[in-house]
Symmetry: C2
Subunit: 622 residues, 2 copies
Amino acid sequence: MILGEVTGARCVQPSPAARSALRPIPAARVSIHDGFWGERLRVNRERTIPHGFAQLLRAGNLDNLRLAAGAAGTYRADADSGGSLLPFLDSDVYKWLEAAGWELGRGDDPGLRSSADEAIAVLARAQRPDGYLNSFVEAVHGGRPYTDLPWGHEFYCAGHLVQAAVAWHRALGDDRLLTIAVRAVDHIDREFGAGGRDGIDGHPGIEMALAELARTTGEDRHLALAARMLDLRGRGSLGAGRFGAAYWQDHEPVRYAAEVAGHSVRQLYLDCGAVDVAVELGDEELLAAARRRWHDMVRTRRYLTGGLGSRHRDEAFGDPYELPPDRAYAETCAAIASVMLSWRLLLATGEPCHADAIERAVYNGVLSGLSRSGTEFFYVNPLQRRTHRTFEPAGHGRRMPWQSCACCPPNLMRLLSSWQQYLATGDDAGIQLHQYAPALVRTSVAGGEAELEVRTGYPWDGRVDVRVARTPDHPWTLSLRVPRWCGSATLSVAGGAPVEVAAGVADRTRAWRPGDEVVLRLDMPVRRTEPDPRVDAVRGCVALERGPLVYCVESADLPGSAELEDLRLDPAREPLASPRPELGDGAVGVDVPVAGGGTVPAVPYHCWGNRGAGGMRVWLPR
Amino acid sequence: MILGEVTGARCVQPSPAARSALRPIPAARVSIHDGFWGERLRVNRERTIPHGFAQLLRAGNLDNLRLAAGAAGTYRADADSGGSLLPFLDSDVYKWLEAAGWELGRGDDPGLRSSADEAIAVLARAQRPDGYLNSFVEAVHGGRPYTDLPWGHEFYCAGHLVQAAVAWHRALGDDRLLTIAVRAVDHIDREFGAGGRDGIDGHPGIEMALAELARTTGEDRHLALAARMLDLRGRGSLGAGRFGAAYWQDHEPVRYAAEVAGHSVRQLYLDCGAVDVAVELGDEELLAAARRRWHDMVRTRRYLTGGLGSRHRDEAFGDPYELPPDRAYAETCAAIASVMLSWRLLLATGEPCHADAIERAVYNGVLSGLSRSGTEFFYVNPLQRRTHRTFEPAGHGRRMPWQSCACCPPNLMRLLSSWQQYLATGDDAGIQLHQYAPALVRTSVAGGEAELEVRTGYPWDGRVDVRVARTPDHPWTLSLRVPRWCGSATLSVAGGAPVEVAAGVADRTRAWRPGDEVVLRLDMPVRRTEPDPRVDAVRGCVALERGPLVYCVESADLPGSAELEDLRLDPAREPLASPRPELGDGAVGVDVPVAGGGTVPAVPYHCWGNRGAGGMRVWLPR
């Protein structure tokens, strides 16, 4: 049944025939060994992922699956969802398993392996003989599948199962999950496949998983089912629900909708699937629609932090330019989903704007969701928190060790455990570096194997040294992304003089020699960023950025009597970078000149909220 | 059982012993005969109230009660609440009946009377022999009362029944509803009264109704039950629900909470009850707490339009100064509830700030909820609507003939049907005019009957002529509110020279003679209003006001190619008033000078959205 072979792990793996401008490099061929990302990947592996398994045990996610496997007990879901039981708790187990799979691929860990084995064994037992697998339906809903497509999240959960299974297959050659996943998908396919019942899930996500499954199994029917589900969406079959048909992107056909709409994570997961299916089928119209939506989103609906989703009520994109900093929803999952989508579009098109977007999201709105300790999380990532708040339910403004709807924590885990895959792509033509970290990158180019050694203090420092450690004689092209935020960059090659390079991609084609050094220097002054004049909510304010990082002022850093809400930037004086070693090796803060004299310190946005609940703001009034 | 007697209708009627600075005048002794309010009251009587009854029939509210009375069928509630059946639909019938009661008190109408008789007869049949009455519990919930206090709205519905019953008793001397209401309250009292089960409703509202019932029946137990419910709230008995304990004001005791919090309408209805109970029991601490919360709310959480509630997700007050214009929730019911609360505080304290607040709310955030036709409604009243919106579910940005949660329309009806009661108060010391409309006001002062004849083009024109039509010889005091918005006002008495009067109350004590004329002149230039610098969402903008009216620019008034979102006020030129007769007799618009030359017209905020869905903004960037 499994036709694909273990060709090296990639979290997105276009088939050889796919229309893909760039080709991902297998995870095992890129390693991050130090610096900003080295530390974060270490914390993810040593603290966040084990913490996640403990929380899944504590919160009942595994016990719910044990119920489906026949154990006695009651389905558990935290109560703060207004009394209704959350039906998608299995997906958190799957996301955790995906993270564990990537992580074990990076290096064995007996404790992690044993936790994962436990979870996989429960899944195998929970799956019904007919292949169906969903703890909520089996334990609560009387075992009747597919009776509540709008809210039931059954395909959504199955999609996450598939993604975990694909990761285990690719990273470890372990097909226990893949066997389960294929049987679960077959159950769906029998009822909803070509000629069957027309049905889509209220929460997209399965589409990209099915495309990845097809890439893994070589089975056309998996891709066909994904394409069918994309075609069926936008016909109103889900009804208006509480929030209107756009909430689940069922208001316009996926291949025609010009703008992102509705629930942000739903839209972004959907468009991941649209891109995956489009590149596999050569469906230019579908790809063009996803690209158009992406550009519209980045232009009119994205927060400076890369956060997405302006509304709490329906976790939705707002209208164009509706970007309130205080009520930003900016769910951690939406920022992660945007990385997943931007990565797919980067592969499909090769356009560096997508790598820029990954950078903005990851360094700001994604990492803000995770505490420095690695064991506390934000679900919502606002750009402003007032110091004085009347009353706040648990989990608002304060990082929490887990959440009753805990979609974000394991999503962070799986992104970080596969993060090295986002650094570079490679093919016969050469190697493309998209993100910068101290790393080794190996891949084959025309003529043979090449290996790059990257040294950098990024994101604190803008110098990136790339040493060609190994290369064939045959010429190939080394491409380096010059971020859009950078106003002045130079590149020097093999001891040559530095040459100005423009934002976009700087590439050099030559017959490289081992030991050749390429130095990219990205000028990193503190930038004062003006908002788009159509963003009403931050008119008259500026934000401070440096390199890929957005900064913020926290009330914890203000002198005793000062109030964050009264702070005004002094536009006559320059904000300046200053070392903040307590935030990490080489870390840099900003000294913000304020009206009335003196300065107040600003910290990178992703560091906020690590000192208890307090005020914070990104956009500072002038 | 009914100890009170028909002493003249008042919608709030403090007992003779209550600590009340001012005394309401019976409805029948104030009549509005023309002008701005004359037209609106006519539309309410002739169009809105009959439309309301038809909608209650269409939507199933009366049929639900018929189910409770034994008819066959299924409980009906519109589906857009996410599948859950709304349990509070009876309250819309009660609010409509309250409006009908006040309206019949203003003059008979056979059609209206027959509709009301039909509804009352259904209620009499739906009430169980033990007094319990609630269509949802009887028809859906298996008839088990009080099993879901947080969300069931049973006391809330009973409270609205009581308020309707009190109106019918006071306005018409008709006690059919009062008999039903007392039996329903007794059912609650038996289970939850002193010595019984501790229990409060997730939605306050019954407290003020019980106080009014006590004022009507003279039964101490009704007041004691209200006081008991106020004392029980704030102890966390409702749990955290989806939105935290503050959502239903159960986070802090009512007599201690310093700030408004949670669901706006819940907080405001609760504080109405707190004031009613406090003045009846002489509970200074409770009154002081409600006053403190009111002042905090007006200072930090009220929109310029008098709208209240900054958040869609939980229909809640936000943090202090969190006042986004686009995502303002500003439910019509919250503005109405603020009028109810401000009226109680005006009676209790005599302070004109409360009458100012009534004025701001009614002329802006309340009337905006009702179309000029009288038959279409806004539930949410934002201060900005972008021209371009990706997708909008039905009812957003467009007035609707009814709503699936139709609390606001009958709330508007009952406020308008009793509006003349808010114009004036009177006691032995004299007469206090709080709101201005062409009206006759009769009341007894020390020494005998007095009658005032008010002529004015308010709110379009700032001149108010008050003629003393009848007066005893004995001196008494005539007080006129000088609105806070007014920078320059004069008063002339009985042909005397105009004298400058300051904002607040201008009063004159003398032995009035029939035919004496008092002329209040309120200067009404167009004002450019700057926001509080702490309101982040409208920094760099100004609003335009004239008299009590807030103005807005609608995209419908812009020349072809101009976009509302690009509009900038030209601060170098004055905005000027200009006639807009199509908006009513004497109506005044504002010509707004804009950058690039020329002007665009602004209309009173309460008139917006009467030309289909389009863009609108109150706060204009400079």
